[in-house]
C-alpha cells in the first residue's frame, strides 16, 4: 500500500487531511463534542464520502499546510493524529432522536472507556436520520485505541451485533483507494479517474492482454511448476508482460471490466492490479475453490466446499476492505449438481448489472432470494417465491430485470417471464406448452433475451423425440416487449445469438439416407420484431461444427469443431452469409473472442484433452498470426475492457473518420513490425554470436589438448599404417561385390 501511485495518493490525501484536521487536531480549537455528535442538523442528509468532501471544503489547507501535507505523504507515518481514533462497525441502527439513543451511548461509552479515556464519540447517521451502524471513538492516546482494537474487535454486544473495530489509520488507507476508483466522485474522464488501475486500457496502442496458466516441462502435477503469464496481443507476435511461478495454484480469472486479476490459492483468493501487478487485496478463505467478482467490481464472492453442516462456505467480501459482508451455507450438491468431477454451477450468486442487487436461486425452496447489496438484506425482507422455478438470469446491462422460467405443473403451463426489481412487477411473460427444457441467454447489451425451448413432439412424452424453438424477447425503447417464436426443427446441435445485432445462427444436422452420416445446415434467423412473421433469413450447407460463436462486435461468427481431431474453424461473414476462411487447429478444446471482437483464440486445454497443448490466435477473417505450443496449458483468458468512455455521438464521429485513423494505425503497425523485426534480428544475432563464441572457445581448448597429446604420443605410426591397409583391402572387396 505504501507504494501507491503518487497521483492518486495526493488527491485523496487532501480529503483525508481535511477530516483529520477536523476530527483530530482541531479538537482544542472547537469544543469538540457538541459540534460533531450533537449537531444533527449539520451532518444530516450526507453520506460519508460527502462528509469527506464537505470537510475538505470547510477546511481548505493553505499553502503552508499543503507543503506540510506533501511532506506527510512522503514520510512513512501518514498521520499520527489518527492513531487514537477507532472505527466501530455493526452498532445497532436506531433512531438517534429516540429514547434508546441515550441508553445506547451510555452502554457504548461503558464498553469503550475500559481501554482509556474517551475524548469524543461520533455516530454516523443515515439520510433518513437513522444511525448508519458505525461510529468513531477518539481516545486520548493511541495505545488505548490499539488496545480497544485488539480486545474489543469481535465483541458480541447482543445476538445481531458483533463489533468490528479498525484503527482510523487503516481505514484512511482503504478509503484513499475508494476515493480513487469508485464512482462517487464524478470526473470528466473515467479513464483518468481510474488512473493506474486502468493503465492497460489507456495505453496508446489499445492492445488487449491475455493470461495463460501453464506448466513447464515438469512431469509431476503437484502444482510445483505452475506459471501464470501475461501477454499483450499486438496483432503479430504477442509481447511478454510478466510471468510468475506459483502465482495462482487453482486457476484464475479476470474481473468483468478487467481491472483486477483474481488468483486462487489454498489459503484464499487475492486480486492484483496496477502495471506492476502488485497485490491489491486478499481474501483469506481456507480451501477456496471458486471465485467470482461482481460486474461492478465492488464485491468478491468466494466459495469452498462445506466441511460441516451449516459451514458458511460461500462468502461475499467487500472488494476494497476485504471484510466479509455476507455469508451463506451452500451444500456441495448445489455447487456441483452433476457430481464432483463435473463443472461447478458457478457463479452461484448472480449480480444485477450495477451490483445493486444479487440473487440466489433456491431450487429446494422454489424461490429466488434477492438481496440489496448496500445493506446485504433481503429485498423487502421477502424471498421471491416462484413455484417450481428452474433458473433465472439478470439482464446484463440497462436495468434491473431478471428473467426466469418454470416448467408445466398441475395443468399450469410453463412460463418464461421478466421481472423488474425492486418493484417485482412482471414486465412480460410467455406461456409455453410441452416444454422439456429451457435455456436463458441474454445478449451482452441487454437488448435480447434468448430462450432455447425444447418441446416434446409426441404427446405421450415417452419417446424422447424433441424439437427446438427459440423465444426471443426484445427489450427496446418501447414499453412493449415483443416476443418472437422461431421454430428451428428437430436436431439443433448448436446455436448462438449475435451479440451486437439481430441475428441468430442455428446449426442443425439431420441424418440423410444417401450419404452415410449427417447432413448439417447452418440457418440464420432474424430476431427483429418487425420480421416476426417470417424470421428465416438464409441457410448454408457444408458447414459442420459443434459450436457457434459470434464475435462480440457482431457480423462475424466462427463455426468451430471443438474437441475433434479435425479441429475445423470456419470463419463466416453473416452479412453476406458466406464463408470467409476455413482453417484448422487440431484438437482444440476452447475458443474465446477477445473483447474487441477482432481476434479469436483457439486453444487446447490439458484438463480436457491430455495431449500436447497449444494456442493459436486468429483474426476475425481467419488468418492465423500466431501459434504457440506449450506442454501443459490449463487456462487462457482475455482481459476484459472497461466500459466505453465516449458517448455514442463521439463514437459515430470516429466511425465517420475511420479512413483517417486507419492510415495512422497502419503506419504505426508498420513501424511496430519493423521494430519487432529489428529486435528479432538483434536477438538472433546475439544468440548466434554467443553460440559461435562458445564453439570457437572449445575448439581452441581442444586444439590445445590435441597438441599436448601429440607431443606425448609418438609411437602410434605403425598402428595407423595397419589401419590404412585394412581400409584399402575392404574397399577392393566392396568394388568386386558391386560388379
Amino acid at each position: 500500500m505504501s507504494e501507491f501511485p503518487k497521483q492518486g495518493g495526493i488527491s485523496t490525501g487532501d480529503g483525508m487531511y481535511g477530516i483529520l484536521k477536523t476530527l483530530g487536531s482541531d479538537e482544542e480549537a472547537d469544543s469538540s463534542t457538541p459540534e460533531l455528535s450533537d449537531d444533527e442538523g449539520y451532518v444530516e442528509c450526507i453520506s460519508d464520502i460527502d462528509i469527506l468532501n464537505k470537510l475538505k471544503e470547510i477546511h481548505k489547507p493553505n499553502e503552508a499546510e499543503t507543503i506540510m501535507l506533501h511532506h506527510r505523504l512522503e514520510s512513512p507515518e501518514v498521520s499520527k493524529e489518527f492513531d487514537s481514533i477507532i472505527i466501530v462497525e455493526n452498532i445497532p441502527q436506531i433512531d438517534p432522536k429516540g429514547e434508546k439513543m441515550e441508553k445506547l451511548e451510555i452502554i457504548l461509552r461503558k464498553i469503550f472507556s475500559r481501554f482509556g479515556k474517551i475524548v469524543n464519540i461520533y455516530f454516523a447517521k443515515e439520510t433518513n436520520a437513522m444511525l448508519k451502524g458505525f461510529m468513531l471513538v477518539e481516545y486520548q492516546s493511541s495505545d488505548s485505541a490499539e488496545q480497544a482494537k485488539k480486545i474489543a474487535d469481535g465483541y458480541i454486544m447482543d445476538k445481531s451485533h458483533t463489533f468490528t473495530i479498525n484503527l482510523m489509520t487503516e481505514v484512511v488507507e482503504a478509503l484513499g483507494m475508494s476515493d480513487e476508483f469508485k464512482e462517487q466522485t464524478p470526473l470528466a474522464y473515467p479513464g483518468e479517474r481510474q488512473g493506474p488501475l486502468w493503465w492497460w486500457a489507456m495505453k496508446e496502442d489499445a492492445h488487449d492482454q491475455y493470461a495463460i496458466l501453464h506448466q513447464g516441462s515438469n512431469t509431476d502435477l503437484s502444482n510445483s511448476d505452475v506459471h501464470l503469464s501475461l501477454w499483450w496481443n499486438t496483432g503479430s507476435v504477442p509481447r511478454y508482460i510478466v510471468e510468475r511461478l506459483k502465482w495462482s495454484m487453482l486457476g484464475f480469472t479476470w474481473s468483468k471490466q478487467g481491472t483486477f486479476l483474481v488468483t486462487v490459492h489454498p489459503q484464499g483468493a487475492a486480486i492484483w492490479a496496477f502495471e506492476s501487478f502488485e497485490r491489491f487485496q486478499k481474501y483469506p478463505h481456507f480451501g477456496v475453490k471458486l471465485v467470482d467478482i461482481s460486474p461492478g467490481e465492488n464485491y468478491v464472492v468466494t466459495c469452498s466446499l462445506p466441511q460441516s453442516e451449516d459451514d458458511q462456505n460461500v462468502k461475499i467480501w467487500n472488494l476494497l476492505t476485504a471484510k466479509v459482508v455476507k455469508t451463506f451455507s451452500v451444500e456441495s450438491v448445489v455447487i456441483y449438481p452433476g457430481g464432483r468431477d463435473k463443472p461447478a454451477k458457478w457463479p452461484l450468486i448472480q449480480w444485477s448489472y450495477n451490483d445493486e442487487y444479487f440473487g440466489i436461486l433456491s431450487l429446494a425452496n422454489q424461490s429466488i432470494k434477492v438481496f440489496q447489496s448496500d445493506c446485504m438484506k433481503l429485498l423487502d425482507d421477502k424471498v421471491i417465491h416462484i413455484p417450481n422455478i428452474q433458473d433465472f438470469s439478470w439482464r446484463p446491462t440497462g436495468s434491473n430485470v431478471l428473467a426466469y422460467w418454470f416448467p408445466e405443473q398441475n395443468q399450469k403451463p410453463a412460463q418464461v417471464a421478466l421481472m423488474s426489481i425492486p418493484t417485482r412487477a412482471i414486465a412480460r411473460q410467455k406461456n409455453l406448452v410441452g416444454v422439456h427444457d429451457c435455456e436463458l441467454k441474454w445478449t451482452e447489451n441487454g437488448r435480447f433475451l434468448l430462450c432455447k425451448v425444447i418441446h416434446y413432439i409426441s404427446k405421450s412424452r415417452k419417446q424422447n423425440k424433441t424439437k427446438t424453438a427459440f423465444e426471443v424477447f426484445s427489450i427496446g425503447q418501447d414499453r412493449e416487449i415483443p416476443v418472437i417464436s422461431i421454430d428451428a426443427g428437430e436436431s439443433v446441435t448448436a446455436y448462438a445469438l449475435d451479440q451486437n445485432g439481430n441475428k441468430i445462427a442455428v446449426m442443425s444436422s439431420e441424418a440423410t439416407k444417401d450419404v452415410i452420416g449427417h447432413q448439417s445446415t447452418l440457418k440464420f434467423f432474424s430476431v427483429d420484431p418487425s420480421r416476426a412473421s417470417n424470421p428465416f433469413l438464409k441457410d448454408m450447407t457444408g458447414v459442420y461444427a459443434s459450436h457457434l460463436s459470434w464475435s462480440p462486435l457482431g457480423q462475424y461468427l466462427v463455426a468451430a469443431a471443438i474437441s475433434q481431431n479435425t479441429g475445423d474453424l470456419i470463419f463466416i461473414d453473416a452479412t453476406e452469409f458466406s464463408v470467409i476462411n476455413r482453417q484448422n487447429h487440431t484438437g482444440f478444446t476452447d475458443i474465446q473472442w477477445d473483447p474487441t471482437g477482432r481476434y479469436l483464440c483457439s486453444y487446447i486445454n490439458y484438463m480436457t484433452r491430455a495431449t500436447e497443448c497449444s494456442y493459436a490466435l486468429w483474426t476475425f477473417y481467419g488468418r492465423c498470426y500466431y501459434k504457440f505450443t506449450i506442454p501443459f496449458l490449463y487456462a487462457f483468458k482475455w482481459r476484459g475492457r472497461p466500459p466505453k468512455v465516449l458517448t455514442e455521438g463521439e463514437q459515430l464521429e470516429i466511425q465517420k473518420n475511420i479512413a483517417y485513423y486507419q492510415k495512422i494505425f497502419e503506419q504505426k503497425d508498420k513501424k511496430a513490425q519493423r521494430n519487432e523485426a529489428d529486435k528479432l534480428f538483434k536477438k538472433y544475432r546475439a544468440m548466434f554470436n554467443d553460440f559461435m563464441d562458445v564453439k570457437n572457445c572449445i575448439k581452441d581448448r581442444l586444439h590445445e589438448l590435441e597438441t599436448s597429446l601429440n607431443k606425448r604420443l609418438d609411437s602410434t605410426m605403425d598402428e595407423e599404417n595397419f589401419d590404412i591397409e585394412i581400409v584399402e583391402s575392404f574397399d577392393k572387396e566392396k568394388v568386386e561385390i558391386i560388379k
Partner: protein, 337 residues
Amino acid sequence: MALIRALMLLSHEGPISQIKYNRDGDLLFSVSKTPPAMVWRTDTGMRLGTYEFGEKSAISCLDINKDTTRLVTGSAGNMIRLWDCETGACLQTVTTQTSVRTCEFSSDGQIIFYTTDAQRKISPELAILTLKQFEGGAFDYIAQTHITDSKVTAATWGPFDQHIITGHENGSLRFYQADNSAKRVQVLRNEQIHKDTVTDLKMTSDKLFCLSASKDFTAKLSTSDRLENIKTFNTDRPVNAAAISSLRNHVIIGGGQEAMWVTQTHSHTGKFEAKIFHVIYEQEIGRVKGHFGPINSLAFQPDGRGFSSGGEDGVIRMHQFPEIYYDFEFDRFKFDR
C-alpha cells in the same frame, strides 16, 4: 508441410534398442530386444545380413569401428560379442557379470569400453579393454571399476578418447578416465545436468559438444571438455533418443510415453513423433510422424542428409530429407549460413 519419404525396415521382431550408421553412411546396423542383429543398405533399404546369436537374450547396444570391419554388441545375456562385419562370424566374446548397457569402440578401433547394469547385489561396472589380440587372443582389461552410486545409462567416448562421458540414472553427466597404473577408472568431473535418467548420449561429429537426452523431457547440449550446459531443448515427453546433424545446426529428438502407457493412448496423442530442433535458437522447426510406439534410438546419416529412427514398435524408419530441407531457413537473416 513437406513430404519426407521413409523406408520402413520391418525384419526385427522386438523393440529396437539401438541403430547406428557406419562412418561411410552406406550401411545401417541395428539391434533389438530379440536377436539377431542386422545390417541394412541405406540406399535401397535392403537387408544385407544378420548376426546370429544362438541365444534369446535382448541385445542392448552395438558399435561399428571406423573402417566397418568389426561390430561389437552387448546383450542382456551378460555377453559382449565381437563380430566380423563382412562374414557375420562371431570372433570373440567377453562374459560380464551382469547385463551390458552400453559399449563403444574408440576412434582407432583398438579399445572398447562397456558398462553394465546393477543386478541383485552386483553394482554396475565400467570397463575399458583393448582388442590388440582380438583374433583369438584374450582381451586385456585396461581398467575395470564398479560404480556404486548411480547406474550408467548412456556413455560415449570423449574428445581424443581421453575420457568416457557417462550419463547416469540420477541425471548427472560425468567424465571417467582410465588410470592405467591402478587399472581403475576415476571420476574427473561430475555435473548434474538433468533432473532424471539420461537415456542417450552422443558426440557431435566435430567432438565439440555432447548431446544428452533425458526422461526429464529435455535434451541438452553441453561442451565436451567441461560439461557446461549451453543449450536446452524442451519437449512434452520423456526423451529416449537424440541425434545431431553434421550438416546443419539441427538436432533430432525422439521419445514418447513410457511403453507401459502406450496401449492406453491413441498414437496421435502418444507423442511418438521425432522432433527437429534448431541448435542455436532452441526452437522446434519440424516433426516427423510415423511410429506407433516411443522412439528408442535415432541416428543421423554421417553426411547429415537423412536420419533413421528405431521404435518400440520394432520398426526402423529410414528417412532422406527432401530438397526443401536444405533451403529451409529458421532465421530469415541467415546467420546460420
